[in-house]
Symmetry: C2
Subunit: 342 residues, 2 copies
DNA sequence: CTAAATCATGCAAACGTTTGCATAGAGATT
DNA sequence: AATCTCTATGCAAACGTTTGCATGATTTAG
């Protein structure tokens, strides 16, 4: 009981005309008699004719699939970005293929390898935190596949980029902490291979410097992952040391949240004894007690703009000269309960 | 500077043999001379030949794309399920296309409409909460596209189904609350069109009955969405009424979390004055104070099994008789700080 | 030494659609 | 009546690969 789809030939046979006429009729070709067009369209509708997309792809040698590569779809941050991408792409003819690299450059390279087998129309990528070598990404460019890099920068790689101003986001947060009376501000940062982490770290350092506060190595703690559990040890380290900080600026909300819980367990009052500010503004961050102060990122807009830029690139005529876009979104400081009011 | 991919014909020309021989050489056809095969393979490698997947798809009239339709990729629950699906599908030849219905039957139907234009190998779907009519899903079946429904049941639709035992998950949670001394247990439930909500409600009701507690209509509050904000009003309603409950069993963690915050704002102590149990066990639920008691669902396993069942169905030989799978996963009650110890 | 069997390879069709070019028929112009 | 110009349609190639069948060359058997 194998389904055989209606083809253009079936319609042609039924109406005793050629396949080309049917094809043209369905495209409203001006050279055709109105009568013929109508007959074709009527039968096509009656028989529920659907063009065979695989024949089309084959003919044109391009597919209508756009790939999105993100480090982790489980995190709110990337799933919100993907939502933005979808909201732009769904109304178009393009379909979206979402791939997760699990923060691993190896998996990322494997994904690109697999994608290069199926032809794709374009790629949106937020590189893995371990991606320091861009050969696999360059391979896409060599194959003339339109590409947009978002959220995380690939220094030295020329491509469309849509980023967030992590530096000034971090700077503002730390500057606020200082203005609210904190003098010993620690920073829990992540993998130093990652551009976003570095920009945030730099913002932290510069805010201290600007306010004539010392930059202490013991106050900068590196952690590996982005998950809640990765915030526990660093916080214990800070709060059980001799030189206890009066504020923690965490690289993201998850770390901030577990710093909060760890501080509470160690009987610190928030924000009286220790202020905490995160980064991301995940939806549940408001619901903690006290509610988390954090840095909001326009992640949905970032997804949308990335998708728009990619679409534009894909639809560029052959010869047109390509102008690389470099877009940076501003963050917003959201002060809630884990930091003192100015 | 348009890239022209190496084709089988290019190799054939270079070696002065026919395209068919090249094709067979690459497939290790036994009738070919070892010598020829090696020459072909060597050149294919040297020239970095990649089979044209669109030609293949066209020839076979099937694609290697599997679609996953979920109500919302932003929620931890579905993104974790998708991760399970990916972990099964990525090592195969299949590619995954993820689509979000935004809990809307209209968008869901639109997605299926769009998907039926591109041929797809199979579909995994967690239906939207508003999906009460299954015509669009049946259309897939009519087109002989393998299908697995997961997480949410479509009563009356015959298909592979992979679900979670919401009923007993809810029953156990409420039974626990009663055993811990609660006598006036309220339930914040969701959209009554949704199978999972109904099973949870039924489990709640039956647990009360089994323990000879009255089922009070005023203790069953319906809310529309699944987001944090949807839990505020219902909780206020409950805690500001004349008959104040001593426990709230919430339909999911997000609602539970906002019930928690609302209760705290109204100066209830948790769990002394009011116990709270959620459903889902999202990663951040542990990090609230007190940590949220909840019902864990094996969502990752559910995703994996769904993908495995779909793969099996896709690879079924033409005539083989199809046996519909109906799998139900057990939940696990996770008692933390928002409920009293027994 | 001829016929049969085996081996290695080529030919051509098929998948569905589009599109440049050709052409049949009708009407208009000389 | 011969030529020209439209108008409406058909023909055939192209996209890359696979595969059943045919075929030429070589080896083996009788």
């Amino acid at each position: 009981m194998k389904r055989t789809r209606i083809t253009i030939k079936d319609i042609a046979n039924e109406l005793n005309i050629s396949a080309s006429t049917v094809s043209r009729a369905l495209q409203d070709h001006p050279a055709l008699k109105e009568e013929t067009k109508e007959a074709v369209k009527a039968l096509a509708k009656k028989w529920n004719y659907r063009p065979n997309s695989m024949a089309l792809n084959f003919l044109r040698q391009t597919s209508t699939t756009i790939a999105v590569i993100v480090p982790d779809i489980t995190s709110y941050f990337f799933s919100a970005a993907v939502t933005g991408i979808q909201d732009i792409l769904v109304p178009t003819q393009y379909n979206i293929m979402i791939c997760a690299s699990n923060e691993s450059i190896e998996e990322e390279a494997l994904i690109i390898e697999k994608l290069s087998k199926v032809q794709i129309a374009g790629v949106l990528i937020a590189p893995a935190s371990t991606t320091t070598n861009f050969d696999h990404i360059r391979k896409l460019q060599k194959n003339n596949i339109p590409l947009v890099i978002f959220d995380r920068d690939c220094k030295g790689l020329e491509a469309h980029k849509v980023l967030v101003d992590d530096y000034s986001g971090a700077f503002e947060a730390v500057d606020y902490l200082i203005k609210s009376g904190c003098k010993k501000i620690a920073h829990i940062t992540g993998d130093s291979d990652l551009s976003t982490n570095n920009y945030r770290l730099q913002g932290y350092v510069d805010a201290l410097k600007k306010n004539n506060l010392p930059v202490l190595e013991e106050f900068i703690i590196h952690t590996q992952g982005f998950k809640h559990k990765d915030g526990i040890k660093p916080t214990e380290l800070l709060l059980e040391s001799k030189n206890i900080p009066d504020a923690i600026f965490a690289v993201n909300d998850r770390i901030a949240v577990s710093a909060m819980r760890t501080a509470k367990k160690l009987n610190f009052r928030i924000p009286e004894d220790i202020s905490i500010i995160g980064f991301d503004d995940e939806p549940h961050s408001t619901y903690f007690t006290p509610a988390l102060s954090t840095v909001w990122q326009p992640v949905y807009s970032m997804g949308m703009l990335s998708a728009r830029i990619l679409l534009h690139d894909i639809n560029l005529e052959e010869g047109a000269d390509l102008k690389l876009r470099y877009e940076v979104f501003k963050t917003e400081l959201v002060i809630r309960g884990t930091s003192k009011r100015i």
